[in-house]
Amino acid sequence: MSAARNGSRRDFLKGTLSGAAFLCAGGALAAQPMAAEVGAAGAKSRVVVARDELLRGSGFTVDAQRMRTLLDRAMLALFNRENSLDAWKKIVHPGERVSLKVNTLGGRGISTNVQLVEALCERLQQAGIKSSDIVIWDRDSAELERAGFSLAIGGDRVQCYGTDRMGYEDELSAYGSVGSRFSKILTQRTDVLINLPVLKDHDGAGVTIALKNMYGVIHNPNKYHPNGCNPYVADLNMLPEIRSRMRLVICDATTAMYEGGPAYKPEFCWPCNSLLLSTDAVALDYTGWQMIERKRAEKGLKSLEAEQRGPSYIITSADDEHRLGHCDSKRISVVEV
């Protein structure tokens, strides 16, 4: 799981030669293969926004085949590959244990879609990951079920359960303002973390997308909501338990919510029919935030900043202390496919 194993020699040299900015990023970046590109001076982070207006056909349910196609299209665009399997091999390697951290707080209305997760599991297995080495998880098993997932524990199948089934580590991990116990699913069952948030408004934090989805991997998220979750979200994502494992974010924006979150409020949702992909969680969050702001403006609502709830934690995540990614539009390349 080292940078050398996952980044190309050219990437490595580019990063090394890019000077102080890269060096200052410190050892933690080395553990996150894709973050080397984020840290390189002048480098841009790529965020793919893949859209299919017919994702649901004529009904409400997401079409599984179209979702699979959309995911493939997004992965090809993110990694500049001709073949989706080649793209997945940039992320995972046979023998690794892969966990998919979904977001199921919003029930069936606005959670990570089962169809997306199924498509993802299929591709992971084609990339050489054993089915039993894949875990779909969130904080709570009951929430997973309410969002449409079937619990699966043991056997040679893809696993699916909440942290309530394995518990949290006894020891605290601490950085800055944060001291937390991590889910054992993350620490004991995960080599590669794929973060699968949704795109929605949050009454306190402004928005909740990829970075804040990590509140679902610790035992005490309630302690980190003051001050718009800033700097707590950034500090949490600095912890090596997350940084060393998270290799990809796939934000399920099939349904997105521009107001009233985080609980599902159908009156504030829109059929965004999109997936957002990036290896830079900060850049993805920034991009998602702007999408929500545009929708709010379209609906005649004030901006989040005007409502005193701009997601400042995203900016903090990119500051000199954290350097978790980019939140400057000049350093983000948004690719729409």
Partner: protein
């Protein structure tokens, strides 16, 4: 929360205690979970623990504002407040911890510490998960900083608690270990059940609460111990994640309510151990609460998120006591230092020892009819059941 500091527990020790508490409750052992394999869910959504919360206000869009503590969390649907034990479900706020006991022990009342309230007795002491602050030195963070579904618990409705208190010859039920403010509904029901059966109630609290909740919940208490964690707002902000002013207001209100109150001040090297802070504290207590309020300066042990400081030197505690004595407080104690002479109670008039303590045990109690046996000076407190 400071109570744990008297007998610091590591997590393993705590779990042992939790198992013991299960036995104490007489309702079966705590289920152990194998780490290797996901076990049946220990969560969480058990209706018998969930009651509508008191002290909150409904807002628009299914939000609520909690009015229990000064934090006044605005909580959206499906979210919890800072304490982690109160949840908004569709615009109605619920306590998730009624009768959900994660620790229960029979403790000497001196362990709370209450030195002037029924010395030599034992208290049936219990806790649920949750706390409304996040002290970086917390000794019981395993339970106080966890959500209820994350830790083993037993169902202990108020009537059962009362029965157990009587069974173990405890004249009091003590609400302690975590922060009882956040399980106010359960505490109030336990106090009512206890009083109906002749069992009193005492609470060990940080005092960080709103006045209405204080009067309603602690109005049912017979004695209160408040952890006054510092005498500066900056410390409260940085180390406690709270505010000083509301705690001082609580102390004044308790005084007006006529509740027997003792104060603990946990002394952390370099953070709250200056002469000026000790002096300011003592002067404030004397001016606002009177000279007879017992004040306990207790020793800090490294724990939780503050492990980089040494154990408080005994000389620092003695300096604090000397300053408070000089300011005119009558009952200043040193805690967490077994065998220290400042654990004993001395008559404020003749200075003779009138209660001797060894560890948590009141080994000699000479006070008779609330007076010093040597000079007949009245000694404030509640000395006999």
């Amino acid at each position: 929360m400071n109570e744990g500091a008297k007998n610091p527990l590591d997590r393993r020790s705590f779990l042992r205690c939790a198992l013991a508490s299960g036995a104490a409750l007489g309702i079966g052992g705590v289920v152990k979970q194998a780490a290797a394999m996901p076990a049946a869910s220990a969560s969480g959504d058990n209706a018998r623990y969930i009651v509508e919360a008191k002290f909150y206000q409904k807002l628009t869009n299914s939000k609520i504002k909690c009015k229990l503590c000064p934090r006044e969390c605005t909580v959206g649907d499906k979210e919890r407040g800072y304490c982690g034990v109160r949840e908004n479900r569709g615009g109605t706020y619920y306590s998730m911890v009624h009768s959900r006991v994660c620790a229960a022990h029979v403790d000497p009342i001196e362990k709370k510490p209450l030195f002037h309230y029924l010395p030599g007795t034992v208290a049936f002491s219990l806790a649920t998960a949750g706390c409304n602050v996040n002290c970086k030195f917390c000794q019981n963070w395993d339970i106080s900083q966890s959500r209820p579904e994350e830790i083993p618990a037993q169902y202990a409705p108020p009537q059962r608690v009362t029965e157990l208190a009587k069974q173990y010859s405890c004249p009091t039920i003590a609400y302690t270990y975590s922060e009882p403010v956040v399980w106010a509904e359960y505490l109030m029901d336990c106090a009512d059940a206890g009083h109906a059966a002749g069992v009193r109630s005492i609470v060990v609290s940080n005092g960080y609460m709103q006045e209405e909740a204080l009067k309603a919940a602690y109005g049912k208490m017979d004695a209160v111990k408040i952890d006054l964690k510092s005498f500066t707002e900056s410390y409260y902000k940085q180390v406690v994640t709270g505010q000083l002013k509301p705690v001082l207001d609580t102390l004044v209100t308790l005084r007006k309510m006529g509740k027997w109150t003792e104060i603990v001040f946990l002394v952390l090297p370099t953070l709250n151990d200056s002469d000026a802070e000790f002096r300011g504290l003592a002067q404030w207590i004397k001016a606002n609460l009177g000279a007879d309020v017992p004040l306990h300066f207790t020793q800090y042990h490294p724990e939780y998120l503050l492990k980089n400081l040494p154990v408080t030197p005994v000389s620092t505690l003695e300096r604090a006591k000397a300053i408070a004595d000089a300011e005119g407080l009558h009952f200043v104690y040193i805690g967490n230092v077994p065998g220290h002479p400042a654990q004993n109670t001395y008559c404020p008039k003749c200075r003779k020892m009138i209660v001797e303590r060894v560890g948590f045990v009141a080994s000699e109690m000479l006070i008779k009819n609330g007076k010093c046996p040597f000079c007949q000076q009245p000694v404030p407190g509640v000395w006999h059941v």
